[in-house]
């Protein structure tokens, strides 16, 4: 049994890392639950990433029926999008690694 404060502390810990541009929680159908990003970006991220995550997990499951997706990292020129999927929810973090690394 975990309390709501546990969640809050996890999120604040994540946000405190270097180079974090945004933390986002959404469900698999793409509706954002919590977000530290502006609303329009939140919508885009949640809609697009949730689709990509479900596609990725279906790929891994097709390749091996017993396998499952545990983590997804998308590296782009500007930043890295990290996606941790769960049964119902997705935790998405957008980080600028350049800012953190140097």
């Amino acid at each position: 049994m975990s309390s709501i404060t546990d969640v809050e502390s996890t999120l604040s810990r994540i946000s405190s890392h270097k180079g974090v541009k945004g933390v986002l929680i959404c469900n698999h159908s793409g509706s954002a639950i919590r977000s530290s990003l502006p609303p329009d970006e939140t919508e885009q991220y949640s809609a697009l990433i949730s689709q990509l995550a479900s596609k990725a997990s279906s790929v891994t499951r097709t390749l091996d029926a017993e396998d499952d997706l545990t983590f997804l990292r998308i590296r782009s020129k500007k930043h890295e999008i990290m996606v941790a999927p769960d049964k119902e929810f997705l935790l998405i973090v957008v980080q600028d690694p350049e800012m953190g690394g140097e």
Partner: protein
Amino acid sequence: MEVAYLYTKVRAEFGKDCKFIDADPTVLESIVPSEEFEEHYTLKNPSISEFDTTPHMSESECNTERLVVKSTSMRHMEGGWPKDVDPSEMSDMARFRKKAEKDEDYKTAMKTLGPMIGRCMKQNNTINIYEEYFDGVQADHSSEPPSAKGLAVFRDPHKVSRTATSINWHPEGPATNGKIAVSYSILNFQDPQFMGDTQMPVSSYIWDIMNPNTPDIELLPPSPLCCLRFNAKSTDTLVGGSYNGLVSFYDLRKPNAPEKQCMPHETSVIEKSHHDPVYDVFWISSKTGNQCASVSTDGQMMWWDTRRLGEPTDVLNLATDSKGGGMTLGGSSMEYNQEAGPTKYLVGTEQGIVLAINLRNRKSNNGVQVYDSGPGKHHGPIYSIQRNPTHNKFFMTVGDWTARIWVEDLKTPIMTTKYHSSYLTSGCWSPTRAGVFYVTRMDGVVDIWDYFYRQNEVAYSHKVGDNPLSTISVQGTMQSGGRLVAVGDVKGTVSLLEVCDSLASQQPNEKMAINGMFERETKQEKNLELRERDLKRAKAAEEEASKKEAADKKDGKDEKMEELLRKVDADFLAMIKEAEDDESKASEGADLGEEK
């Protein structure tokens, strides 16, 4: 039942006349009558039958139906909310979120997912696992043999065959997936296809290079376009020049236009436009970014403001002598490059002569500078003219069978390619490599010259098709690109080629070497000119000297003659005087006698 007869003949006997001889009959097949056949006997009335000893043959062709594919996509914007949540209602969403946050699963999920993400982030912050180890290393492709491969073919959707008259790449390049604006028109004078009531098809197209089956946008000008260009500053606008001399302006963002079609936003009026097809049009640098310049074979250059195309802002006559007495030349190609000078233009003419126009020197001959009209000019119209992208002082012209390289301040070309085996129709520089240029030929071949490698031979020839090519354009800017080449032909087909790295990426030292080569050739040409001038001067001086001598001689003769005449005159006078004296003496004597 199969009756076969093998007939053999020696090779030596082939082609000889037939000789028929009588021969005994031979039995090839014999069918014995049987009762079984009799049972099947039916009388057929009437009956037609044919006999022929030649074998029956027929030719038939078939082709599978063309599969037209289309790519579609959709974008999910608002997230998958449950049925009872209205995504536009903030309170609904807030309620849903609150509910979700209270969910036990949510809490446990966050607890497990948090550390996972944390680990990755720490990893990212500690080491750069995507570090570029070989950054700044320039690959040397020079050993690679040059090559090119066809990527896609864009066919003119119209049934009537038209020439692809110009190709212009979208200035943003690969960011927009690559788009090309292609203008199509029929340049034949009074083409018999359109002598009746049939109208020439007017539309030109913008293609997305990822989708060769259907054009992205159809442009509908009042008359077929001969040239079309994207505005580099505002890439949704284009300007085109028509076959009948009009200049039209397009804005692709026009909201209430039918899908995938675009009518001109503004068009010039026919009385105040060119009287011949507009062969080229350029966006020129201006504060508003609405100015453009056009050139036509009617011998005029016109400047326009695309917001008010009612009349040109300026007109210039392409005359070799502004005071009259010279020729007016028809412009068949134009070059404008802001880096070389915002008031400078180069015009290639139908007569093969190059003109440089500088609006800043309008006082001297209207700003028109005429290049060599003797042996240095082309033997036919100049189809393409372009400045070298890296060295703006030098430019190339393509006409007749050659491409020539010129320098701004010399009247004669500094370099000329050998005569190609076929007539050249168009050409352009590679945007990335200073020494590479492309020319298209009448026999469907693209020739690629690499001056960094050799100057006497084509570096690579690529056969695109059998149709004569009409235009070429290479995608990219000085910094990037240079790999994709679009080539248009007279049947309206645009082929997209991809050239290999060695032809596209800048080679070490290339810029310097090419500049050195051009400078050297310039110096040589300058020295030749100087020498020629010296020779001419010496010859003129010599001629003058000999003339003077001749004149001197002539004068001397006259004096002598005069002297002679004077002498003769004096002699004559003396003689007369003597005779008179004698006579008077005689008469005096007679008088004296009478008196006596």
